[in-house]
Symmetry: C2
Subunit: 197 residues, 2 copies
DNA sequence: ACTGAAAGCGAACGATGGTCGCTTTTCGAC
DNA sequence: GTCGAAAAGCGACCATCGTTCGCTTTCAGT
């Protein structure tokens, strides 16, 4: 990490990513709220105030996690959404990658979601905004499907919310009826049947 | 408030109640988490450490609110439950007083419920225990109704949870279809029809 | 080589929740 | 009536927290 040379915004982002990755195990072990900035800085091999060069406040670290994950997912979804395929096929793919992402960081998501309840309202709003961006993405795909005629005319925002929030039990639930893939299939079967044109 | 004379447990409880009552407006105005123990003590006209004689920690103050309210409600419900009436009539009365209590402290309940999300898991568990006590009360009433034959044999715990949690939208919801009394009536109509024997 | 700017750091800050030991008040025993 | 034990109350104090400040170190361009 050179000192006298300015970091581009992209490098900053990489650095933030790296810092978070180095620290994540403390959060998993003793929780976010119970970990002090001193500990975080130490675990990252940084001076405490250097940490503040990358995260404006402590809450920003938690917010960063969600923003990072959610914008990754949104990006990925957008890439899929641009393919030349019927909207329902694309939507299916989007949800598949969605639960794959959730599953890959399952315990981290669980812990962080729980801890995020204790953030200030303002920070929670930041996270919600990113969530909405993802929902809007899904919604746009449903709207496309409606225009294509593969979906009937439904309230697309409501449907998107229903679909996305219906994914949680598949990964985080406590009563499983099969593998996540099977549960996803069953859920999507119901959903698509519900809105098919 | 005498100094050299010991307080009975009951007097302590009264005192706690009084302290909370004197402080409640700060919580409503600037929130619980944002109010320091110094401010609380000052508003109560107490020394800071005296406050700690009545509440072991800051979180205890919030926990106290729920414990107090919920045990009041549980008591009241128990009094109604002992009357010599068919179980369904008693259950109806219980739920009526329930939403009356919620309504009477509506904004306080709202604020405090929101703030309680930020408590430590341990404190949240304390609150949940009291909630369960109330639910168990309702459940017992449903069990009685089953024995009396006015209800059919249902999973009484599940039904109780459904009933109690179904009250929230009546008081705290954002989409009202009538007065709380009307909404309660509609909800209970559905519920009783659902479990009638 | 020199300089300006960026990156990094530890000490220090203000505020917080919580504790300690002292003072004040009261009641009951003598 | 007084004296002492015990309780209630208190403000100073403590450790710790998140956050900021000013200094040092390092490097790129001249």
């Amino acid at each position: 990490m050179p000192k006298g040379i300015p970091l581009t915004e992209e490098e900053q982002a990489k650095r933030r990513h790296g810092i978070f990755h180095q620290v994540v195990n403390i959060f998993l072990k003793k929780g976010f709220q119970e970990t002090s900035m001193r500990e975080i800085a130490e675990a990252a091999g940084l001076g405490k105030s250097t940490l503040y060069d990358y995260f404006k406040t402590k809450e920003d670290i938690l917010v960063y996690f969600f923003e990072d994950q959610l914008s990754d997912m949104t990006e990925e979804a957008q890439r899929i959404a641009m393919q030349n395929l019927p909207a329902d096929k694309r939507l299916r793919q989007v949800m598949e990658t969605y639960i794959e992402n959730l599953q890959a960081n399952k315990s981290l998501f669980l812990k962080m979601s729980f801890e995020s309840q204790r953030l200030k309202a303002e920070s929670q709003k930041q996270i919600q905004d990113k969530r909405h961006a993802y929902q809007d993405m899904v919604r746009a795909l449903i709207d496309e499907g409606i225009r294509e005629g593969v979906f009937r005319k439904v309230n697309s925002l409501l449907a998107a919310r229903m679909l996305v929030s219906g994914m949680a039990p598949i990964v985080f639930g406590s009563r499983f009826t099969g593998t996540p893939q099977e549960m996803l299939k069953d859920t999507l079967d119901i959903f698509f049947r519900g809105i098919e044109g």
